[in-house]
């Protein structure tokens, strides 16, 4: 049969609508979240297509120009185009947040699985450390780490990553402990599966499903922490365009009426975080196999 793009498209669309019917509002929450993320990812991948100016161009327009016309989000005091900086800034925040979430999830999940499954003294010590870290305000920890590591994209990524390891660890360890008690794990033991087989074939697939949701929510959180660090001036050199830093720089114009300098970067941080949160919320409901039984 010939491949027909129109047919495939129609099929995909109907499938799409079908999902909406099947899962209800949650599906639309997921779709909106995904669209927000896609739009911003598109911005990050092809900034040149969208942004009318180079984000570093200090002659893009007059100083502190109101939004409108050629500069839809106005210009800043260095005569740079705010919209172009927003477009390029998406690269930094996405890179940091996603990379940080990946790093922390890899460490956290591995540690959590091993610790929860093996139990004993190792588990106690690791849990104690992780719990202590977890109970401590993550942002403050990140501030300390960021200050220690100095400015730079990699450094800020690490600072953000460190504080989420306990989140994954606790989640995965808790799940591992719970799943360890599940009947199907006992069943696996009863058919003679070894410890590693149980961990890899029975516990891991069941743990990983929940971490997907946590991962997306985590990215949302990491976005806000990254922006917080750069907002506090602990993150990046000025050659890197970043929303948090633009927000911090715009802050001093607050009483002078240059509202666009703080409104737009902040709104973008919120919108991006919102995208990931909505995706996570939607996924949480949809990945839940019990949903259909309700």
């Amino acid at each position: 049969m010939l491949y027909s793009p129109a047919k495939a498209m129609a099929k995909a669309l109907s499938r799409f609508a079908g999902m909406g019917k099947k899962y209800g509002v949650e599906w639309w929450i997921l779709v909106i979240g995904a669209l927000i993320i896609l739009a911003i990812v598109y911005m990050a991948l092809f900034p040149g297509v969208i942004a009318p100016f180079n984000p570093h161009n200090q002659n893009a327009g007059p100083q502190l120009l109101h939004p409108g016309g050629e500069h839809i989000m106005g210009t800043d005091n260095l005569q740079r185009d705010v919209w172009s900086r927003i477009v390029y800034g998406s690269q930094t925040i996405l890179r940091v947040a996603i990379l940080a979430a990946i790093i922390s999830s890899v460490f956290g999940i591995t540690l959590g699985l091993v610790s929860g499954f093996s139990g004993g003294f190792f588990d106690r010590i690791v849990s104690l450390i992780m719990d202590s870290l977890y109970s401590f305000p993550g942002l403050i920890l990140a501030i300390a780490f960021a200050a220690m590591l100095g400015p730079g994209v990699i450094n800020i990524t690490l600072a953000v990553a460190v504080i989420y390891i306990p989140t994954y660890f606790r989640l995965v360890r808790g799940q591992t402990l719970a799943i360890k008690e599940e009947l199907y794990v006992e069943a696996a033991r009863s058919i003679g599966a070894s410890g590693f087989t149980i961990l890899w074939r029975y516990i891991f697939p069941n743990v990983i499903a929940t971490t997907v949701v946590v991962f997306t929510l985590n990215v949302a959180d990491a976005i806000m922490i990254e922006a917080a660090l750069t907002y506090l001036g602990l993150g990046l050199p000025p050659s890197i365009v970043d929303w948090g830093m633009d927000l911090a720089m715009g802050k001093k114009f607050l009483p002078s009426g240059q509202w666009w300098l703080i409104t737009f970067p902040g709104a973008m941080i919120s919108i991006l975080a919102l995208g990931f949160t909505m995706l996570g919320e939607g996924l949480a409901e949809i990945l839940n196999p019990r949903l259909l039984e309700r």
Binding site: L183, A187, G192, N206
Partner: protein
């Protein structure tokens, strides 16, 4: 108490000797820090019996009497506090961890809750074939072939259609069949069936029970059939053992125990079973009170606080399991 010499008799496939399992009371870290003495749940407190090859022994009792724990101890899914289990004359607790994993090819278990005993993220075809993959290291295609065959046998048809399904896509009865298929795929000798039909719907129960009887013949199996429902045990068991608070109070051939229950608890249990017949009226008295906590079981005979015919000695001495008739054992001073 059972004589140790019985072990020599090869007719006995499995012998349980004075098995005990005391669980330390689940407490938080803080309680452990502060508690002066530790409490124990005496889940299984000295259980002895044996099963012949090809036989079905029913282990019957109310919830919390220790029957499930006994089943798990026999398969060494739990380590006992004391006592021993001999399988083919050899103590299963003497095997190393690795050897025990190998042994599981021949010792299998069917759990009460089929949904919970299947990994929600593993397709059922995979789940059924997994024991084979672990033990025989056969090529993938062959494992799949055997899995499909056994699926047909347990009535999971069409097998190739169901092969890729996940547990939540099946009905309760089908899931229990998956569990049975998985237990039987390696051709085991001995199967512990832990309340295999308790969760099933009324109309499904009979089917599963029938299937188990039929497969027993076909695979030449030996069952330990754990149940709380005396009525069910009637259709599959050759012998029954009645458990109360971690101990066996009566054991013997099914007919014998049902017709002539000696221990008062057995009598009570038999009387309490609801009979689907409006004309039937209970004659045997139902005792007051509920089953005591296994943390501090009553001294002496554990049933004495609820026993209608309890005597003073019942609260002091513990009756031993003695053979009253041939093969009919009772732990009561009567």
């Amino acid at each position: 108490m059972l004589d140790v010499q019985v072990i020599e008799n090869m007719e006995e496939l499995l012998t349980v000797n004075n098995l005990k399992k005391h669980f330390p009371l689940q407490k938080g870290f803080i309680d452990n820090l502060l508690a002066k003495e530790k409490g124990f749940v005496r889940a299984v407190d000295g259980v002895s019996f044996s099963i012949k090859k090809g036989e079905v022994l029913g282990l019957v009792g109310e919830s919390g009497c220790g029957k499930t724990t006994t089943g798990r101890l026999i398969l060494r899914l739990l380590e006992p506090t004391s006592g021993d289990v001999f399988y083919n004359g050899k103590s299963i607790f003497s095997y190393s961890k690795k050897e025990m994993e190998g042994m599981r090819e021949k010792l299998q278990i069917i759990f009460q809750d089929p949904y919970a005993s299947l990994s929600p993220r593993m397709a059922i075809g995979k789940a059924i074939g997994h024991p084979l993959a672990i033990h025989n290291h056969k090529p993938k295609a062959e494992v799949e072939q055997i899995s499909l065959e056994i699926m047909e046998k347990v009535g999971l048809t069409p097998a190739s259609f169901l092969f890729k399904k996940y547990p939540h896509q099946l009905s309760g009865g089908q899931r229990q069949r998956v569990v049975i298929a998985r237990a039987l795929v390696t051709n085991p000798e001995f199967v512990v069936a832990d309340e295999p039909i308790a969760m099933a719907d009324v109309s499904v129960r009979a089917m599963i029970l029938e299937l188990m009887v039929q497969l027993k013949e076909e695979f030449d199996l030996t069952y330990l059939f754990i149940t709380h429902d005396l009525a069910t045990s009637k259709y599959i068991c050759d012998r029954v053992a009645i458990m109360y608070l971690g101990k066996i109070v009566e054991m013997g051939p099914l007919e014998e125990v049902f017709k002539n229950p000696i221990h008062p608890y057995t009598g009570t249990l038999l009387a309490a079973v609801p009979v689907p017949d409006p004309k039937y009226r209970r004659t045997y008295p139902i005792p007051k009170g509920e089953i005591p906590s296994p943390i501090n079981p009553p001294p002496g005979c554990r049933f004495h606080p609820r026993c209608a015919s309890a005597k003073s000695m019942c609260s002091i001495h513990e009756p031993e399991l003695v053979e009253v008739h041939s093969g009919h054992w009772v732990a009561c001073f009567e």
